[in-house]
Amino acid sequence: MYAYDELDRTLINERVSEFRDQVKRRLSGELTEDEFKILRLQNGVYLQLHAYMFRVAIPYGTLSSKQLRRLAHIARRYDRGYGHFTTRQNIQFNWIKLAELPDALAELAEVGIHAMQTSGNNMRNVTSDQWAGVAPGEVEDPRIWSEILRQHTTLHPEFSFLPRKFKIAITASEHDRAAIKIHDIGLRLHKNADGETGFEVLVGGGLGRTPFIAKTIKPFVHGRDILSYVEAILRVYNQYGRRDNIYKARIKILVHELGIEKFAREVDEEWRQMGHSALTLDHSAIEEVRSRFSYPPYEKLPHMPDELKEAAHDPLFERWRKNSVAPHKVQGYSIVTLSLKPVGGPPGDASADQMDALADLADRYSFGEIRVGHEQNLALPHVAKRDLPQLWKALDRLGLATPNVNLVTDIIACPGLDYCSLANARSIPIAQELTRRFANHDTADMIGRLHINISGCINACGHHHVGHIGILGVEKNGEEFYQITIGGRADENAQMGVLIGPAVPYAEVADVIEDIVEAYLALRDRPEELFVDTVKRLGVEPFKERVYATR
């Protein structure tokens, strides 16, 4: 966990008072909506179809049980008893009342949570690997660097009025769980030949209307220079970024138009001019942040406790363990992923009761810590293996032990037309229908790793471009239609999926996905060949044929 200092607490509290005053002036008519909009957006407040929507940051996806209980309380007291975990380590509440928002923010501030920079054209919540600090083989805890960046960019005037929103993600593992290649800046922590820690810096990734995979502009930037280097990137962006056209304002467009080489030269030139600036981090500054992250007092435990051997006789437990439990860097411990994708449920939603109960389980089994990942699932990062059978029973009672992590029913979906004012089509009911179609866990296991991503419009909040199967809602003559792509991926080999053909109507989407999956099962050369690999080997043609031959 990270312990906030006095400065952070003061800042968050001052922000609440400021917003309370702004809301008061809005409600009295002193501020018009036009004047107020930018202020509310700086505090995570959108206007959606049914109500205001309130987005709260969960920096680098780390939550304490106390914070999770407070989120449950917010859901219950100020909303309709549930919250929605998003792909950017945020939680959204869909029914918040503007007049009550200052109180909700004040209650969140008491536990060190805020909504600053969760919307608007500024530096957004810096995201990271949800297994940060516990994944085996990690270079070091990437949250230290996320936190350094968070501190530097929070309310920084130069980053508060950017041409457009700006997103940074950091990973420190071989396997990228933070989707860094689809962020404005992606940072991959690694060590150079001299054993020094630094970053490969990628720029210009993003989805939306004009999707791009980020490209590397520098293979190694020393850790102490990361702030100045990021600042150099932002200066170039601030200088050249298009403010005249919202569709061309993201850094990905600038990188594309200038070309990666020219962009890299501009950044290097800017960086050189900055010289040894105040932004160079000295060792003690880094160590100061590092020391604020505490790790649990792990026990010395056996690799294979008796409790686990015994539970292995239960096939239901074993299925869940194989699916949802991952190795931990400390012997005798595991990382447990909690699926927020129950059969028939809206992806990423958790009820206040589930959050409360989970906070209790985190206290009992995970040193009071919970993680939030970009796949819209949660995790308990420090579970002793001997406790896994007990934990599983408790999670199962809460509906949080669906053994479908990374399988066909572990669907990422945006709120779509059920909530979102920008949507063309619904996302959630499509996801729900698909989870019912593939509800049989044996079938899902047999299909293997397969990521379905759904967005209700081209803004791509559901990351459909990089889904193994991507589903995008479009509108045709007032009806909901869906374009389907296959072969995308969001990991270290990130790439965009390829469209298989004309959009299909709402009622046919689930059938089409079933056809695609059946085609894959018939075409894969062995059970271990993943869906994306079969698509890579054979291209989209055979899938296209299967889907459209009879339609």
Binding site: G29, H50, L98, G344
Partner: protein, 103 residues
């Protein structure tokens, strides 16, 4: 969403209402003939010419303390019963189309 600046371009194809979200709590509301807001669609003032629509919208937008994001939305009239004219408005009027939590 239609910005007030684009009001001149407004053309409606059939019976319409003005809808918005109430400022203090965000709830979906409809502009009434009495120059107020109601949460009930059947209370809405119905306009059927583009000029009337424009006038109703102008008046609604001016009441920025009452409600925000006002725009013109289509409705269907069936024997005196008023219904939302498209899926989006149906969802705004009746709520989400999904079970909130798994069955």
């Amino acid at each position: 969403m239609t910005s007030p600046l684009e009001q001149k371009k407004i053309r409606i194809a059939g019976p319409s209402v003005v809808t918005a979200n109430r400022t203090w709590d965000g709830v979906v509301v409809y502009r009434t003939a009495q120059q107020g807001w109601s949460t009930v669609l059947s209370d809405a003032a119905i306009v059927s010419t583009s000029d009337d629509a424009r006038a109703l919208l102008a008046e609604s937008v001016a009441d920025d303390v009452g409600a925000v994001g006002a725009y013109i939305a289509p409705v269907e009239l069936n024997g005196g019963v008023i219904k939302p004219g498209n899926l989006r408005e149906h969802i705004r009027s009746k709520g989400v189309t999904i079970d909130l939590l798994p069955a």
